[in-house]
């Protein structure tokens, strides 16, 4: 098990929160689909709210782990600085309601500068994206952004796109292991589909760990529900 797997176990099962003093740098941040918290103190405070629970590490690629707690799945991605965690991105699909803080009105478009062009064959990837993960990203881009559903036959995908018809998937980062490839991605879309459209822009972080063609994919469904109900910050003079 990697350091990250041991850390997750120490925090969840043993509740040894003091390990955060060594594992995280003081200015570490944690981001999920509802926002960001800043500082090791704030991350520690968030862990205080967790109850002790057994945990199973289902995938361990050193800088990203997948785990199962009770009946729900989570993925944790980390970026380190001199060995300590500087940034973590957490995706937890827990069956409990969440609240989203008010957000500013959305800015800009989802497919920058593409206008009427159809989705291209290859994904738009940051330069740091690992070469060995590009084929997987291109495949997912064709299936997800190109709506080639037969390339990726999972029920969650059309279910999500029915609610967010312009859903656009962005591939942010990847880690390639011996037998597995993990992809960190985001999806932005407008809630104009489904039975009760709110018009809200939904912004979610997703994570997929591929073992061959099989994947464990996690998105935070509670965060999506919370975003549909969130209040918009209003700066207008009439307020």
């Amino acid at each position: 098990m990697s350091n990250l797997g041991r850390l997750e176990t120490a925090l969840r099962r043993d509740r040894s929160l003091a390990v955060l003093d060594d594992s995280h740098v003081h200015r570490a941040t944690r981001e999920d689909s509802l926002g960001i918290i800043k500082g090791r103190d704030a991350i520690t405070a968030a862990w205080v709210n967790e109850d002790a629970s057994d945990i199973t590490i289902t995938a361990d690629l050193t800088d990203i782990i997948a785990f199962k707690v009770k009946s729900w799945h989570g993925h944790r991605w980390v970026w380190r600085e001199e060995g300590r965690i500087l940034r973590e991105v957490v995706i937890e699909d827990r069956c409990e309601a969440k609240t989203a803080q008010p957000a500013h009105p959305p800015l800009g478009e989802l497919r920058s500068g593409e206008g009427q062009y159809a989705a291209s064959d290859s994904a738009l990837l940051p330069p740091s994206f690992p070469e060995a993960a590009r084929d997987v990203a291109n495949w997912l881009h064709q299936a997800w952004n190109g709506r080639t559903f037969n390339l990726y036959d999972r029920a969650w995908l059309p279910a999500l796109i029915r609610q967010l018809p312009d859903a656009t998937f962005y591939f942010e980062h990847a880690v390639v292991g011996e037998k597995q490839t993990a992809i960190l991605w985001r999806v932005h879309g407008h809630h104009v589909g489904g039975p009760n459209p709110t018009g809200q822009r939904v912004r979610l972080i997703g994570s997929s760990v591929f073992t061959g063609d099989a994947d464990e994919t996690v998105i935070d469904h509670a965060a999506m529900a919370a975003q549909l109900e969130r209040r918009t910050i209003e700066y207008a003079a009439s307020c």
Binding site: H26, K38, D41, E82, S112, G113, L125, P126, R203
Partner: protein, 349 residues
């Protein structure tokens, strides 16, 4: 000898005695090893250790602190302001995220210090009565330092994010201040002078070129970036400047991701201030980081960001920090005071 920055060091390492001088900084206290150490350590001593009186040995008597609410003159004003803020937020921590500095010659250094603060609002603040809430906000302090003294400072803080977290309405706070301003005679001379300064810069030729490489020439990149993307409205060139996976943080605690949202910010900025011009005051670059201090002058003639057009002339003082990787911006933090901006829209300042 290399001068370590914030990156790669935990707070205990940053605040531990640094030993012998790593940088020739004549006139600075012996306890400071280099300009980065000076900024981080004196911030800790003054703010976190509450030795506010040390301002007397770290600020010039005739210091000018430039903010979007106007300049503050003199060290006594700095001590009074620090004491007021610490009364409102006694446990404020000031986590240094970056110290992007430049050698200005003659023993002077410019430090652009980005700070994440967490604090509990236990006393009356500039935004209203105590709320008891714990908030997190970003400040960037650009300090011109010489011989252990800060001789000029440009201070930007994300006041609208603070107000939102405290449960105050930024526009309502701005309106209250503006009413007082109007009772004292309306637009201040300092703001007229600042706007004239921005608008007096000659217009540039249409930038029909690619952007310089920010890693190779950060100064040229910063100037070309604001000239092309803002002053010439080539919002699509955000795709040349930013990584497609770039993260952007801005005033009001806004957080954007990727090309579409970031281009949307610049579009909305001009959608709010249609005749806006930006001029750059200062650029500093260290390691993979660039700091740009800039000013904007324009007319609030559109409703993109701040409600229906007020027709008021507006002035923005902002600092932008970029992190560069693979010759692209991968992280941006831009800070300016939106409450001061809306105060102008309400006829104040």
């Amino acid at each position: 000898m290399a001068i370590p920055n914030v990156g790669g060091r935990d707070i205990a390492q940053i605040l531990a005695p640094q030993g012998a001088r790593r940088q020739d900084i004549p006139g600075f206290g012996e306890e400071y090893s280099d300009i980065v150490d000076y900024i981080l350590r004196c911030t800790h001593r003054i703010w976190e250790q509450k030795d506010v009186g040390l301002i007397a040995t770290h600020y010039a008597p005739a210091i000018v602190v430039h903010m979007m609410t106007g300049p503050v003159f003199g060290m006594d004003g700095v001590i009074a302001g620090t004491s007021r803020t610490l009364s409102a937020f006694p446990d404020r921590t000031l986590t240094g995220e970056a110290v992007i500095w430049s050698d200005e010659g003659n023993g002077a250094y410019l430090s652009s210090h980005r700070i994440t603060s967490t604090a509990t609002n236990l006393g009356t603040s500039e935004l209203g009565p105590a709320t008891g809430k714990r908030i997190t906000f970003t400040t960037i302090a650009d300090c011109l330092c010489k011989e252990n003294l800060i001789i000029e400072e440009w201070l930007v803080r994300d006041y609208s994010a603070m107000a939102l977290e405290l449960g105050y309405h930024p526009r309502a706070v701005a309106r209250t201040y503006a009413q007082t301003d109007k009772a004292h005679g309306g637009r201040a001379d300092w703001r007229k002078t600042a706007m004239e300064r921005v608008l007096s810069f000659p217009e540039t030729a249409f930038p029909d070129v690619t952007l310089p490489n920010p890693a190779a020439d950060p100064h040229a990149f910063a100037h070309a970036f604001f000239d092309a993307i803002v002053n010439h409205r080539r919002f699509g060139m955000t795709r040349d400047a930013y990584s497609p996976a770039a993260h952007w943080s801005g005033p009001g605690g806004r957080r954007l991701y990727g090309w579409g949202e970031i281009a949307g910010w610049f579009t909305a900025l001009i959608g709010s201030f249609g005749d806006a011009r930006i001029s750059i005051q200062h650029v500093a670059a260290v390691d993979d980081m660039i700091a740009v201090r800039w000013e904007l002058a324009g007319t609030h003639d559109g409703g993109a960001l701040y409600g229906a057009a007020s027709g008021e002339p507006v002035y923005i003082l902002a600092v932008t920090h970029w992190r560069i990787a693979h010759s692209m911006i991968v992280d941006e933090v831009t800070v300016f005071d939106e409450i001061a901006l809306m105060r102008q829209m309400e006829g104040g300042l």
